[in-house]
Symmetry: D2
Subunit: 274 residues, 4 copies
C-alpha cells in the first residue's frame, strides 16, 4: 500500500508490473477507484509498469472538505509523477478520468507519450452538468436506492443491462449501503462539482500527441458528438467507435478495452511509407 502526501492530504496509489516496462497511468471514472482496475491488471502488467491512483475524494485517498476544481487532481498527478521520478507515461482515462487525462496532457505535454480517452469529452456541457446536479440532489436525500437508480442504469447499454440483470441486482445490493453513506455522497458531490467547469475546447489545437479516442455508441452521458469534437480538433487524433456498448465501456467489453490500450501504447512506429 503506497501513500503519497499531496499538500496535507494522503493520496493512495499503486504501482504494479515490471519497472522496466513502459509506464502506463490509468485514471478512474468518477465512481471508480484503483480497485476497479483489478480485473485488468493481469493483462496490463504483462506489458506495462502500471500506475493507478485514487483521486482525492475517491477510494482510499483522503476526503476533502471544501469544494475544488478538477485542476487540483491534475496538479496532484504532476506531483505524484515527480515524486516517483517518472518523466514519460502512456496515459489513459475514462469519463472523469479521461477529462483529467486530457487536461493533464494539455498542461504537461512533455510527460505524455500517447493518450487514450475512453468515453470522454472536451467540456462539461450544460446537459451533462444538469445530470450531475440530479446526482447531487439525489445524493443529498441520503437514499442509497434513489442514488443507485439515478446514477447507475444510465451508464450501461440497454442490451448489456438486460443481459447482466442478475449481476446488476447484486451490484445494487452491494452499492446501496455505500450510496447511503453521507461521507461517500459528499465526496461524490464534490467530485461532480469539480468537473462542472471543465472546458478545454480552446486548447485542443495545441495537443501534439497521438491520441486514441473511443466512442461507445450507446454512451448516453458522453455521446458520440463529444468525441467527434475531440477527433476533429486534435491534430493526431485516431477515432474508433464500439457499437452496442455504453458509458462503462471497459466493463462491457474488457477484451477490447485491454487490447486497445496494449496495442496503441506498444506500437512505436508513427510514420508509415505507404
Amino acid at each position: 500500500m503506497s501513500i503519497f502526501k499531496y499538500k496535507d492530504k494522503n493520496v493512495f496509489y499503486q504501482l504494479d508490473g515490471n519497472k522496466d516496462n513502459p509506464k502506463l497511468l490509468i485514471l478512474n471514472g468518477i465512481m471508480m477507484s484503483t480497485k476497479s482496475w483489478q480485473p485488468f491488471m493481469e493483462t496490463l502488467t504483462e506489458h506495462f509498469h502500471v500506475l493507478r491512483v485514487d483521486f482525492l475524494d475517491q477510494g482510499q485517498s483522503d476526503k476533502m472538505t471544501d469544494n475544488y476544481k478538477q485542476d487540483m487532481q491534475i496538479d496532484l498527478l504532476k506531483a505524484l509523477l515527480d515524486e516517483l521520478k517518472i518523466k514519460k507515461i502512456n496515459l489513459v482515462g475514462i469519463s472523469y478520468g479521461g477529462e483529467v487525462a486530457l487536461s493533464f496532457a494539455l498542461k504537461h505535454q512533455t510527460y505524455v507519450q500517447r493518450l487514450i480517452l475512453f468515453n470522454s469529452s472536451a467540456y462539461t456541457n450544460p446537459l451533462l452538468k444538469d445530470i450531475g446536479r440530479s446526482w447531487i440532489k439525489a445524493g443529498q436525500t441520503r437514499d442509497g436506492s434513489l442514488y443507485y437508480k439515478t446514477t447507475i442504469p444510465i451508464i450501461y447499454s440497454p442490451s448489456y443491462y438486460e443481459a447482466k440483470l442478475e449481476w446488476m441486482q447484486k451490484r445494487e445490493e452491494i452499492l446501496t449501503p455505500i450510496f447511503s453513506n453521507p461521507e461517500f455522497l459528499d465526496a461524490m458531490e464534490r467530485l461532480t462539482l469539480s468537473a462542472e467547469s471543465f472546458d478545454v475546447r480552446d486548447q485542443l489545437k495545441d495537443l501534439d500527441i497521438h491520441t486514441l479516442i473511443i466512442t461507445a455508441d450507446e454512451d448516453f452521458l458522453t455521446p458520440r458528438k463529444e468525441q467527434e469534437y475531440l477527433a476533429k480538433h486534435i491534430k493526431n487524433a485516431h477515432w474508433m467507435t464500439i457499437p452496442g456498448v455504453g458509458h462503462a465501456s471497459m466493463y462491457e467489453n474488457p477484451l477490447l478495452f485491454t487490447s486497445l490500450i496494449t496495442g496503441f501504447f506498444l506500437v512505436k512506429q508513427e510514420t508509415y511509407q505507404i
Copy 2:
C-alpha cells in the same frame, strides 16, 4: 371543452379542424397533455380533423387512485373512438403515446389507416424500467427540483439543451412547483408503472399497416436500437432518423415533426410502378 365518461372517470379530449378532413389521433408522451400539442394545431388542422386526448392521470382527465396497466389507456381510446363514431384514424404517438399507439394498432388494427411512431420502442427494457424507477423515487421525495433534474435534461439533445438554455431555465421555474405537487407526482408514478410491462415484440409480425418509425439520433431513453427492432419486425415499416435531435423530437424540430405527419398521412398511394 369535451368530456367523455370512461367507466366512472372523466376523460378530457378535444376535436379540432374540419370534420371532413381525414382523422388524426395524436397521443401524448408521459409528461405531456393535450395542451402540449397546441403549437402544432394550426398546421395539423389544415389537413386533418385532429383528436387529442388526455390519458387518465394526465392533464385535465381524472386522476386514478390504484395502479393499472397501459392497456387501460388503449381500451379508453377504443371507447372514445366508438363514442365519436370514428371508424378509421391516422394514428401518431410519441414515447409513451407511441407505445399506446402501437398497442392500439395491434389490438384494433381495422381502426388504423396509418401509424407513426416517434421515439418509441417495442417493449420497456429493464434499463428503461429502472430509469422509470429513478423517476418514481425522485417523485416520492416531493422535491420538485430533484424531479426536474432527474427527468427533464435527459429528454433533450445536448446541443438543443445548450442552445435553449434560457428557455430551459424558464421551464424549470414553471415546472418545479408542478413537480412538487403530490397529486401530479402520484399520477406520474402510476403512469410510469403502467408502462413497465409493455411488451409487444411477439405481436409485431401481425401488424399490416404502413408504419413510419422515427429515430432521434440523440434519444437516450428510447435509443436507435429500439426503433431498429421495430423497423426489422414490422412488415410495412418505413424508418427514418433525425441527426442531432433528442427524445423530445417534436420540440427540437417542429417543422420536421409536422411535415412527417402531414406527408405520411396525406399520401394515399402505396404501390409504385418503378
Copy 3:
C-alpha cells in the same frame, strides 16, 4: 408534349396537376428523364402543380455538341420559369438534380419557396469526379454491358439490389442497348463533365430557405458526410437519414419519397411557440 426554346435548343418539359395548387419543380438525376417521375405523378399531382423538365442532353430535350457547365442547366430553368410566368416554386432534386436545385436556389433565391435535396452534395469531390471519369471511359468503349455494370449496381443499396434481383436483370436487358448508343453515351459524358466543377461550399451561408436534406445511409456516391456538410452550413437546414437505402432513394422507398415532398412543401408554418 411541351417544348421550350432555350437559345436554339428544344427543351422538353411537362406540367401536370391543378394549376391552382402550389408549384413543384422536380429535377432529374443524371441518368433520369421526365419519364422517370411517372410512378410518382399520381401522388404528387394530388397536392401540387408539377413541373418536370429534361435537362439538355437528357430524355426528349436536344442533345448538345460541345461541353458546358452545369450552370447552363440553371439558366435554362430560370428561362423556363420566366416563360411560364412562375414566380415561386417548391424545388426538389436528387443527385445531379439536387446539385442543380441547390445552385438554382443560391442564384435565384426569390423563386424558391422551399428546397428538398435528396442524395446531394455541396461540391463534386475528387473521388466522385474520378468515379465520373470511370463512367466516361466505360462509355467511350461503347460496350453497353460494361457501362451498365460500372454505373448501375453502385447506385443501389446491397439489400435492395439483392431483393430486386430479377427486376435488376430486366433493367439490365432494357438498358444495355441504350447504354451502347453512342449518342446517349456522348450526352452522358457531357452531363458528367458538366458537374465536375460544381462547388457551392462558399455560398451556402447565404441560403435563407428552409431546406430538407435527405441522406440515404447506403448511398456510396454521395455519402452521409456530403449532407452533413450541407446541414451544418445551411442556416435553416432540416436533416434526415434513411437507413438501409442507397443513392436511388426514390426507387428504394417511394412512399417515403412522396411523403417527404408532400409534407415538407405543404406545411406552411415556420415558427412554433414551444
Copy 4:
C-alpha cells in the same frame, strides 16, 4: 525469397521476425501482394513472427490458367502451414484476405488462435458480385486507365482521396501500365471470379474463436451491414468501427491498423472478473 510448391505451382511466401514470437499470418486483399505489407513490418515483427504469402495469381506466386474457387487459396494456406510445421496462428485478413481468413478459420479452427477481419463480409452479395463483374469487363478492354478509374477511387474515403490527391496521381501513373498488362488483368479476373461463390453465412455459428471485426465507416465495397452481420452471428465477436475511413483502411490509418493487430493478438486474458 521463399517458395513453396502447392500442387505444381510456386507459391511465394515470406517469414519475418523472431521465430519465438507468436505467429501472425496476414492475408492480402485482392490487388495486394506480400510487398504491400512492407510498411507495417517494422512494427509487426516487433511482437510477432510474421508470415506473408502471395495467393496464386497474386504478386510473385504463379499465375493460374483456369478458373478456381477461393477454397483453393484456403487449401494452399493449410498446406503451407503444415509444411512450415505451424500449428497455431493469429490470423488477420483484409477484404479478399479477410474472406479467406474467415473461411480458413471455419475449416481449420484448431489452427487459429484469434482472428481479425478488416473490411470483410460473410458472403459476396449480388451487388458486390456485379461490381466485380464491372472490374472484369473493364480489365478485358486492356485499358489500364479505365481499369484504374473503375477499381481504385472507390476503395478510399472521399476525404482521404482528396487529402492525398498528389499521391493518388502518382499511384495512377505507377499502376496504369500494370493495369494494362494482360497477364495481370487475367489473374485479377480469376481472383475476382474465385470470390463470387464465397458464402459462409450458415457456418458462422460454429466459429468459436475471439474475432475482432473492423468496419470502416466509409467502406463502399463491404459496408457496415456486412460486418454487422458477422458481429451478430459470431459468438465471440468484438466489433469496432473507424469513422471517416474507407475500404483500404490499413492505408488510411496505419497506426490504428497496427495497434489493433498488436493489441488484440497480444492480450491473452479472455475472462475478466468484473
